[in-house]
Amino acid sequence: MSVAAFCVLGVLLSGYVVLDGYDLGMASILLFVARSGDERQSARNAIAPFWNGNEVFLVAAGASLFAFFPQVYASSFSGFYLPFMVVLWLLMGRGIAFEIREMIENALWHAFWDVAFSLSSLGLVVLFGIALGNIVRGVPLQQGGYFLGLFGFLFNGYAFAVALLAVLALCQHGAAYLIVRTKGTVAERSRRAAIRLFPAVAAWWAIVSISTFFVRSPATFGAPPAIAAGAAVALGSLIAFRIAVGRQRHRGAFVASACFLAGLLLSAAGTIFPYLLPGFPDPRTGLDIYRTSGPPAAMTTALTVTVLALVLLAGYRTFLARKLTSRGT
């Protein structure tokens, strides 16, 4: 049951990364691929109906962590206190920047808020990357399972390397999205961005993967089959992505990019399993899914609820997407 909960959490987090990932990534490259006012407008319109709904996945992942593994939720959120607060302000700043831009019709006003939107989104990607890097590397848990995540500890080479990978991969993902959802120069520049980002993503991913073997001993990798499967999916998807972009199969390229991200997360999950918050320097001093899971009633309730809700979501999202595109322009 704990393993099932771990998987459900992984699905929700992957959902967040794949969905909010494209609007975060698109925002990060916005200033480069869309330069005139009209271009920026069309790029923004491509995410306007969706970004808010995508962020809901972050809330859902947080709430499910709370329901399944309360002690991990309590320990990680309080341990990463200041970084999490910065994440919150960036999330809010990003939303404000996106919405406030429309308020006044003035080119300078638009330019200012576009830059604010882009930078706050990029900042979020960097922070999420640093968080993921530190979770893989482990955090210094004290007795009672709490820790103090000071910036001095959290800012380490490995975390920065993961953050750079996050930036590169999500920029590529955002570019793949813009190719599908925009036309003309924005789509063309996004396509060129995707082609140029591809070797950087591939090379940097290899470097991060190798350095993972140095920040923690391979003996502590929890689920090597999952790591291998994740890496295989990611590798296959990355190659498929490049081929699809080359052949102008843009929807396919976006799907491949999404699978690449999911593969990365699967291998990260396989590395830390069964710990949700591995310890440092020894990962085995961390909080695992067996000792921190709630009582049976809580696990059954939360599992039923999240699985049912995800099935429902898939159903009504598909239904509405079909209805919204079937008769639309």
Binding site: N45, M92, V305, K323
Partner: protein, 450 residues
């Protein structure tokens, strides 16, 4: 002590700012659904335009609610880690249900409602409005369940280390404390929605514009406001009071400013509680009425604060004032609503310019009353974070110090100032632009929202 106080101030500030938006979404959602259904089934074009205006305003509130709601969920973990770690197997459940049922549904169907007017069939479009309405209320329900469990914990056992273990989820979801609290919260939101719609109608009448749609707003708004103001007093307010009397008698004494236990306790209409000297200064009281309201008997004994050790008292003055602000405003809403309905019935409503002003100026007060009600419930719950089980001071994060909370509180104040200004600007602009479509995202390739 200092840390817990700053954590409380931060939570209070962020939740009170956040709650302004759910009041509006929960209050407007039924109006939007009703207008949409009328447009779909009766082909009423006025209802269609009305629904478009309120959907745009709803969307702004939903976005602001999401943006300010994420910090609320984070704060359980960041500032109240000990509480979350101990009680998460219970309170994590309704919070998870809220995000995966209500938020997922609301965000997807709101997209359909905003962008689907020309694409979906009118009936499917109206159905989206109904789903958005149900999801917004469901969201409120799950949050109230969380809070009601903290007010009156049920359906759990205690583990050996003091951890709360969920045993019975249906008991948590169906607790009568939760249901009456939810019904009271939702009537408070609907009456606020009614007064907002009525105020928009009054504004258009006063400005002599959009005269085809303004009477519909004023009429439907004031009827709803009247009915739900009455329901907020009875039965929902009354039943909540009964639950407080049964399960939280100290809170009741603080709300009423009753220091000494009395047979035939008076109801204080006015007065200032003096906690140091343990009496109500300058009181205006109605004898015996509190005994009747609490126990249905004019001579019943009502326990005063003095019957409990000082360490179990909530902050008396704040609880007392918040409660009296809520009740005083609630009474005024019934009066304003009744006056409006009377004018409507006698056929004067659309000539009584003075009443349009009253309707317009009433609009901020339901917000204040809703917030005051929550202050009563939450400050009155002190010193407990889970009533009778865990003290608030035991709930805070062991690794977070006061200075960090002060720093982040200032950060929230800054961001929320910006957000508040932006919000007022955007909503007022929508009202000023009026019900007729004004393409918002007008670039090629995207359907203009509503």
């Amino acid at each position: 002590m200092e840390t817990v106080l700053w954590d409380r101030i931060q939570f209070a500030f962020t939740i009170m700012f956040h709650y302004l938006f759910p009041i509006v979404t929960m209050g407007l959602a039924p109006f939007i659904a009703a207008f949409r259904l009328r447009a779909a089934f009766a082909g009423d074009t006025v209802a269609d335009r009305a629904a478009r205006l309120w959907t745009r305003i709803f969307a702004i509130n939903f976005a602001a609610g999401v943006v300010t709601g994420i910090p609320m969920e984070f704060q359980f973990g960041t500032n109240w880690a000990a509480f979350s770690g101990r009680t998460g197997s219970v309170i994590g459940q309704p919070l998870a249900m809220e995000s995966v049922f209500a938020f997922f549904g609301e965000s997807v169907f709101l997209g359909a409602l905003l962008y689907g007017r020309r694409i979906l069939t009118p009936k499917l479009h109206a159905a989206s409005a109904v789903v958005v309405w149900l999801c917004s209320w469901m969201s409120g329900y799950f949050i109230v369940v969380t809070n009601a469990w903290m007010q009156h914990p049920v359906g759990y056992t205690l583990g050996r280390d003091g951890t709360v273990l969920l045993t019975n989820m249906p008991a948590v979801l169906l607790s009568s404390f939760a249901w009456w609290q939810f019904l009271h919260v939702i009537t408070g939101a609907i009456l606020a929605g009614g007064f907002i719609v009525a105020a928009a109608g009054a504004f258009y009448l006063l400005a002599e514009r959009d005269l085809d749609i303004a009477p519909a707003f004023l009429r439907s708004g004031i009827i709803v406001a009247f009915v739900f103001s009455a329901l907020a007093v009875f039965p929902t307010g009354d039943r909540n009071g009964a639950n407080v009397t049964t399960y939280q008698p100290v809170k009741l004494a603080a709300m009423e400013g009753l220091f000494r236990s009395e047979k035939g306790a008076p109801l204080a209409i006015l007065g200032m509680p003096d906690t140091a000297r343990r009496r109500l200064l300058d009181p205006l009281e109605v004898p015996d009425v509190l005994s009747f309201l609490a126990y249905g008997n004019f001579r019943a004994n009502v326990a005063g604060l003095a019957a409990y050790p000082r360490s179990l008292w909530p902050p008396v003055a704040l609880t007392y004032y918040a409660y009296h602000v809520m009740v005083g405003l609630g009474t005024a809403f019934v009066a304003v609503g009744a006056l409006g309905v009377l004018l409507l019935w006698r056929g004067y409503l659309f000539r009584a310019r003075w009443f349009w002003w009253i309707a317009l100026l009433t609009v901020p007060f339901p917000m204040i009353a809703n917030e005051a009600g929550w202050v009563t419930a939450e400050v009155g719950r002190q010193p407990w974070i889970v009533y009778g089980l865990i003290r608030t001071s035991e709930g805070i994060s062991p690794t977070v110090v006061a200075g960090e909370t002060v720093f982040t509180l200032i950060g929230f104040a800054g961001v929320y100032l910006l957000l508040g200004i932006l919000y007022l600007f955007v909503v007022l602009r929508e009202i000023l632009n009026g019900p007729d479509v004004r393409p918002h995202a007008n670039a090629p390739g995207v359907t203009a929202p509503v």
